[in-house]
Structure formats: C-alpha cells, structure tokens
Amino acid sequence: MNEEAILKQFYSKISTQFDVKKLTVYKNFDNIYGDTLDCVQIERYLSLSCTAIFKDENGSSLVSHVRKGNNLYVFVLSSDSSEAYDGVEAQYIINEFKILNGKLGEIQ
C-alpha cells in the first residue's frame, strides 16, 4: 500500500470514529494530503514540542507529529466543533497515530 492510500484509510477510519472534518498532512515542508496550510500555521505546527489542540470559536484542530526515518509527518485534524478532542478523545487519536506510524514504517 502506498503512502496516499494509507493516509486515505487513516482519514476514513478517524473521521468515522471521531469528530474530524478535515485531515491535512505535511511531509517535512510539503503538503501530501488535504488542504494546504499558510506559512504561519505550518511554521507553528512544525515548532511544536508535543501534541497540541488549538481551539477557537470556529472549531478545533489537533496537531501531532509522526517521525519515520528522516521524514517528519505533521498531522492536522480539524473539526467544526469547539468541543472536539476533549477528555480522552485526544488520547485515542494518539493511539491511532501510533498504529499509523507502524503502517508508514512498512512503506519506508
């Protein structure tokens, strides 16, 4: 399975289980899945030292990194709801990232 197919599968799984409307993935500085982000957003997301949830009146975004070899994947999960990713939901999503990490490893 190639990278795009893995991400597609990941998105369909995560969007059915959680309140995720959009998935954006950057590999290093390049957009490989979903919408493109502006320079401020991508620089901020690349600078994170841990998983972060950003909330505003329009919704929430969960941002996390997955490192595979020399590649850094930045995942941005956006939701329309400002209550998304509250409580243990974020922990479950992180577990999904771990599973995805293994799958991405298979294509390296």
């Binding site: 320079c39 401020v40 600078s47 030292s49 841990c50 950003f54 992180i94 990232f97």
Partner: protein, 395 residues
C-alpha cells in the same frame, strides 16, 4: 492518611524509612520526575489524600511544579499539598513561592530539610497563620544581616514565568506525542482605532520597512496612517522627496498612506482605522507608549550573536505585556526559525518569520500572512468621515 511523594530519587529511601515509623501514614507511591503524565498519575492512578512535593524535583517536558499545583487545585481541590521548600537561601525567591502557594490556599510549607518536620506536618496541618509566621521570622532574620553588596543581589533578578533559552540551534528535535497541550485562541475584539506599535531591539532590523509593509496591506481596505517616532527618519523621507520641512510638519501622504511625526499621534488617531507607530530602536522613554499599543510587534535578529539580546529582553524585562509582543524575525532560514520558535512556544511568546521583501509597496505574500495572523484578534472599524486634513501629497 494516603500520601504520594513527588521528589528526587535521593529523598525517596529516607522518606520511605521515615514513613514506616509512622502508623498513620501510608505511602502510595513516589514520582521522581515531574513530566506530562504526572498529573494523571497523581489524580487518577494514586489519588491520595495528600501529596508531598519537594522543590528540587527534576522537571521534564516543560512541566513545572507550579503547573502540577495549579492542576491539582483545579482537579482535586480537596487534596492536601505539602510543599517542602527546604532551607531558605534567597528570600525574594521564597517570597514569590510563598505568595504562589498561599494564593492557591496551600499553607503546608516546610522550610527545612528535616524529614521529621514533613511527617509532623502531614499529621498536623499548618494554618494560614503558621504560613505567615514563616515570612515574619525571615523578615526578623533579614534585619540582622548586614548587606555588604547590594549590587550582587540586583543581578539575580529573574522573570519567573518565562523560560526562554537557546542552548544551541542544533538542539535535538524531541517531540512528545503523548503529552497534550491545549491552546485557546483569543476571540475577536473590536477597536475604534487599532494602534500598532512596531519596534526593534537593535538598529537596522527593518522597523520602518515593516511599518510601511503593514500600512500598505491595511490601506487597501482601511484608512491607515504611519506615525514615526524617529525625527531623523521622518526628515530623511521628506528630504528624499524634496519637500520643504516646514510644509511637511503636519504630515505627508504618499502611496495612499498618511505619514505623521510622532507629536501628532493623539490628534490624528480618531481619524483612522489603524495607526502604525514606527518606534524604531525602542528607547526607555518610549516604552510606555509602546506598552499602550493594541498590537505590539518587535523585530529581532536571529543571528547567533544577536539572539541573546532578545532572550535578555524576554527574560529580564519587567513589562507585563511581554506575552502579547509579536516577535518577528527577518533574515532567518525556516529550519533555524522552527528551532527558535519551539522555545518561544514553550515560553508562551509569539514568534513569526518574515521573508525577504525588498518592495514595501508590494510585500511578500508570506509576510502578508504573518501580519494578518498578528492582527487576527482585531476587527478594524471603518472611520466616520470627518473634516479631512489637507496633507502634502507626494506623486
């Protein structure tokens, strides 16, 4: 009473032995490092009656003792927190810690390293008066001490809430996926006239250029003015356009942007949606004006020999608005900026990278995005038409 110890591993053994002698205390567990999961371990895994926290417990992943205490107060207000400060060497530091603890209604504060004192406090909680007594005692002792060198004390002044340091640009890219940080982005706030202060910590970082770039961006939809604090820069601009300085003292207009000397700021403010104050190199006397600006932009150099200046400004500045300042870095690579930005984010400061943009009338697209992001919380209001000032127009 069920107790959890949060302390360095050196204390663990002796504490366990001391607890064994007490029949009323059960030690549920020991946390030897403060990290992302410490709160959940304390509240969900152990859930004790009391937590004994030693001041010198190692801290990792950006978590501090203060974070732990604040979270515990929020999540488990009934849980007792016993704070072991140890012997007081720096009174000022202790007073700050004491204030923080008493504000959080923590009065079990131990100021020695004796385990018997800790066991005693676990069994007999301290009161607010007991906590106040510690301060009074220290004050009495302080009066007895003859201070020889006042200057050395002043040097030790630090800004507690911000920790910003750049050990090396080549520091490791460690990412803790399991730790979650929650950020709430400020909602919009309306202002009749947004005053944007642009300053720099060193000369020639592009303060005036940035001010005009922002003005160029805003002037497309709003009535915008640039106010220059530096008389020389204003005069140089006039001279360049071959204008009589006397004619220009009430302002000039070029490229759709009105430009005024700083003395006119209060007179013209109400006529514009946005006023950009170009402070240039931020001098001590200008700081109050800069502090009053709705949006504060600080241009900094990212060079290894200059970044220390930014660090000093953030760590040692007494300004309460330091978290509201938007630090902008021109002339920096993306990789280097990301490494610096990591420290800024950890310290709760906002940093942005500016791109090479030689023509201020047509700024780089990424700079547009940066300025938009900075101004996002502000809604620019259209100004009501007033008597128009007649400005000298440069064609």
């Amino acid at each position: 009473m069920n107790v959890v110890l949060v302390a360095d591993k050196k204390i663990r053994k002796s504490f366990e032995n001391a607890v064994k002698k007490s029949s009323s205390i059960t030690l549920l567990g020991v946390e030897m490092v403060i990290r992302g999961n410490t709160i959940s371990r304390l509240t969900e895994h152990h859930n004790p009656h009391a937590v004994v926290i030693y001041r010198n417990t190692p801290q990792k992943e950006g978590m501090t003792i203060r974070d732990i205490i604040s979270f515990l107060r929020l999540k488990r207000p009934q849980m007792r927190i016993i704070y072991v400060y140890g012997s007081v060497k720096d009174n000022e530091h202790f007073y700050e810690e004491h204030d923080f603890l008493t504000e959080n209604k923590i009065y079990d504060i131990i100021t020695d390293n004796e385990l018997t004192s800790v066991i005693n406090v676990i069994d007999n909680p301290m009161t607010k008066e007991d906590a106040e007594q510690i301060i009074l005692k220290l004050e009495e002792e302080k009066e007895k001490i003859v201070i020889d060198e006042i200057q050395t004390e002043e040097k030790e002044k630090t800004y507690d809430n911000i920790f910003l340091d750049f050990p090396a640009v080549t520091s490791l890219n460690d990412f803790d996926q399991e730790r979650i940080e929650r950020n709430i982005i400020k909602t919009s706030q309306a202002n009749s006239a947004v005053v944007i202060g642009v300053a720099q910590l060193q000369h020639h970082n592009g303060c005036t250029h940035t001010s005009f770039e922002i003005a160029a961006m805003l002037s497309k939809k709003n009535k915008t003015a640039v106010v220059m604090t530096d008389k020389d820069t204003f005069e140089n601009l006039i001279v360049f356009h071959k204008i009589n300085p006397q004619k220009a003292e009430n302002g000039i207009e070029f490229n759709g942007i009105d430009v005024y000397p700083f003395s006119m700021l209060n007179d013209i403010k109400q006529n514009y949606s946005a006023v950009i104050c170009d402070f240039g190199f931020l001098r001590e006397c200008q700081k109050p004006y800069y502090g009053d600006c709705n949006v504060k932009i600080m241009l900094c150099s990212a060079a290894e020999w200059d970044i220390g200046l930014t660090m000093k400004y953030i760590n040692f500045s007494n300004e309460s608005y330091i978290h509201d300042v938007n630090f902008c870095f021109p002339r920096v690579t993306r990789t280097k900026f990301i490494k610096y930005n990591r420290h800024f984010i950890k310290s709760g400061c906002n940093a942005y990278k500016l791109n090479y943009s030689p023509d201020w009338t047509c700024p780089h697209q990424d700079n547009f995005t940066v300025y938009k992001e900075i101004l996002k919380p502000y809604l620019l209001q259209p100004v009501k038409e007033k008597n128009k000032r007649k400005l000298l127009r440069i064609k």
